[in-house]
Amino acid sequence: MTHAVALLLYIGSLILWFRSLLSGGRGRGPGIAFGLAAAGVAAHVVALARFTAEYGQLPLNGLAPSLSTVALIIGIGLVATLGLGEGRRVGIVLVPVVILLEVVAVSLGIEPATELLDFQGAWFVFHVTLAFAGLGGLAVAFASGLLYLVQLHELTAKRMGRLFQFTPPLATLDRLGRTGLVAGFITFTLALALGWLWTVSFRQSFDQSNPKVVWAIMCWLIFVVAFGVRVGGGVKERRSALASVVGFSLIVVTYLGLRMVSSQGGFFL
């Protein structure tokens, strides 16, 4: 029920974001859209807290709870842009991502996983939470990067229409994208380090063919590339925005591909 409330609030927010886009971001539309998204995040927190209380475990294990948690972390990423003025408008990209993840989670049924993992306890909680936070950071970088490319296109096409009016300034988007990447990179690296430490400590072996491991390393490399392209001359902001957009899309596509071919799908993410 609380998930449905959160979902409704997210959908209401999305409708308002698009209405704001059509009016060029004038008036109080963007503020109300952001407020609705924040209310959705609050309802989402309550929903996952109730899950934890009911089943005695954090929603980090099993596909549906994990997807819902990733959606919540991305939502929190959006709420964190509160003080950024027009930067909050990344909500128009982030809210659909949150809705998509939450709709899939709710349709699968947000229930605890029945299979037990070797990897559990505090190690597991920190590892998964940090990994999800890393993905949340990359999602924020993706949203900022996408809007950066849109605004850059409007500026070079010398158009000052409603898309130009709605889209935040390049400098704001670049700063937000960089912050998302830095936060994401740090947390994701820590998550990988924890996973690796646990594996070498308790398993004494490292299964490099595990799709989860392949995917995690690919994600980390994408972070590295997104940072790497900022070095050197030319429009480094544009390269970084492009890398964030392509990188995040690649992660989603690869994930879907791996889920389809992997036999270990049940525990993957």
Binding site: S23, M160, P169, R175
Partner: protein, 447 residues
């Protein structure tokens, strides 16, 4: 019964050299309005003076002497004008003056359609007429209501229609572009190349948004120095320009040079140390001061005169398309105001109407009793009751329709018609003599 009249001069009726002679400072406006009320039949007055219009709103409307008094205020200010001031002035009365103010506040009557500054100017004029606690307010209940409603209409027009959307001058386009590139303009460096007026306007607009550092470079150092001191910047010799370019965020070029002053090679050389720093270039010169190839460099946003005018034309077209929507809002607010104004007048009119025909009834009854002196007291009571009932029946529908007229915005029109058809002026004059000044009926009619 007209609520208000307006007498004024605007960009539509007079060129700037005439308009500027009608311009009032706030202190002058206050003094003049005080005098206007003291020495005439003017009950309420507000003076709006902007660079594109000067208007005097006066109450009561529909009174030529009041309008003449307002016109004298303007003519006295302008002084001697070839051919007289009358040719430049316009008058609106009643509903037309109400709609006029709403259109003015909404930016529909502005030189630049939809410009926002007029809203603040209307507010200032209104506050000036009622805001000095040391003097009696110059705006009374009618103009208070009218101006508050006009400000509200103006606000709604701007927030719900695209009439104010998109920049409408080169300076505001520049500010908007700069904001969308840099976000905050706080601490940004601007360089002017040349000494054009438009460049100056752009710098002033950017300064309002927070830019601090300003460098002026010109082939003639003296001219650069003069402009720099006027704009609180600093001048540099022309050969220092490339060095300054490396530190610049916004470059405004407007020289009269016959060939480009900023070439691609020169630009690359100048920006060697900071090749990817975003740079907004506004090339306002014809022929162009900046080679078009410079616009292909990394993080350079180059706009020439044609680009800027294309943006302006596009924005103004969008503004023009929103006029019908804005006019509908004006109509809605005008109807509301006229309904309110009508409701102020309907109660005294109904009272006068009843009194008028009750007097007739009583006179006719007296005449009747003289003829029927034998009538008993019971008969007299019965006839008296019948006459009252008949009067009530006869006046019931007109009274009801009059109140409905107020409800649907035709109150002023109906009240005028009733007063004329029933010759109520005499009754109202008698009543005002009997009741004395200040005993005005302002009750509203609830339908």
């Amino acid at each position: 019964m007209s609520p208000v009249s307006v007498v004024g001069v605007s960009h539509l009726t007079a060129p700037v050299e005439i308009r500027e002679r009608f311009a009032f400072t706030p202190a002058e406006a206050e003094a003049v309005l005080g005098g206007l009320r003291a020495g005439s039949e003017v009950e309420e007055a507000v003076l709006l003076s902007t660079c594109n219009r000067t208007e005097v709103y006066v109450c009561p409307g529909g009174n030529e002497r009041v309008q003449d008094a307002a016109e004298r205020v303007l003519s006295d200010k302008a002084g001697e004008v070839v051919g007289g001031t009358k040719q430049y002035l316009y008058r609106h009365d009643g509903e037309a003056s109400v709609r006029h103010l709403y259109r003015v506040a909404g930016g529909l009557a502005s030189l630049i359609l939809g410009e926002a500054e007029i809203q603040g100017q209307v507010k200032d004029a209104y506050e000036l007429a009622g805001g000095n606690p040391a003097t009696p307010p110059l705006a009374g209940p009618v103009l208070h209501r009218l101006f508050q409603s006009a400000l509200s209409a103006g606000g709604r027009i701007r927030s719900t229609t695209p009439i104010g959307e998109g920049a409408a001058s080169v300076a505001s386009v520049a500010v908007e572009l700069a904001r969308k590139i840099f976000g905050s303009l706080e601490g940004r460096q601007v360089m002017i190349l040349g000494a054009g007026t438009t460049a100056e306007l752009v710098v002033e607009a950017l300064r309002r948004d927070g830019i601090r550092g300003l460098v002026v470079s010109n082939r003639t150092y003296e001219r650069a120095s003069e402009l720099a001191s006027r704009l609180s910047g600093h001048a540099v010799h022309f050969d220092e320009m490339p060095f300054e370019l490396a530190k610049t965020d916004i470059l405004i070029a407007s020289t009269a040079a016959p060939h480009p002053l900023v070439t691609r090679d020169g630009f690359r050389h100048a920006r060697e140390g900071s090749p990817s720093r975003p740079l907004l270039i506004l090339d306002l010169a014809i022929p162009r001061d900046v080679e078009p190839e410079v616009g292909h460099e990394a993080n350079v946003f180059l706009y020439n005169v044609d680009d800027l005018h294309e943006i302006l034309d596009d924005n103004l077209l969008k503004r023009r398309e929103s006029v019908p929507e804005a006019e509908a809002i004006v109509e809605e607010y005008a109807r509301d105001f006229l309904r309110w104004y009508g409701s102020r007048g309907v109660v005294p009119v109904i009272r006068s109407l009843r009194q008028r025909w009750d007097d007739v009834r009583q006179r006719e009854l007296e005449r009747l009793w003289q003829k029927l002196s034998h009538a008993s007291a019971d008969d007299r009571d019965a006839v008296e009751a019948f006459s009252k009932q008949l009067l009530n029946k006869l006046l019931h529908d007109p009274t009801k329709r009059l109140k409905q007229g107020v409800g649907n915005g035709r109150g002023v029109e109906f009240i005028d018609a009733v007063r004329y058809l029933h010759d109520l002026e005499a009754v109202e004059a008698d009543r005002s003599e009997a009741s004395g000044p200040g005993d005005d009926d302002e009750a509203e009619v609830d339908e």
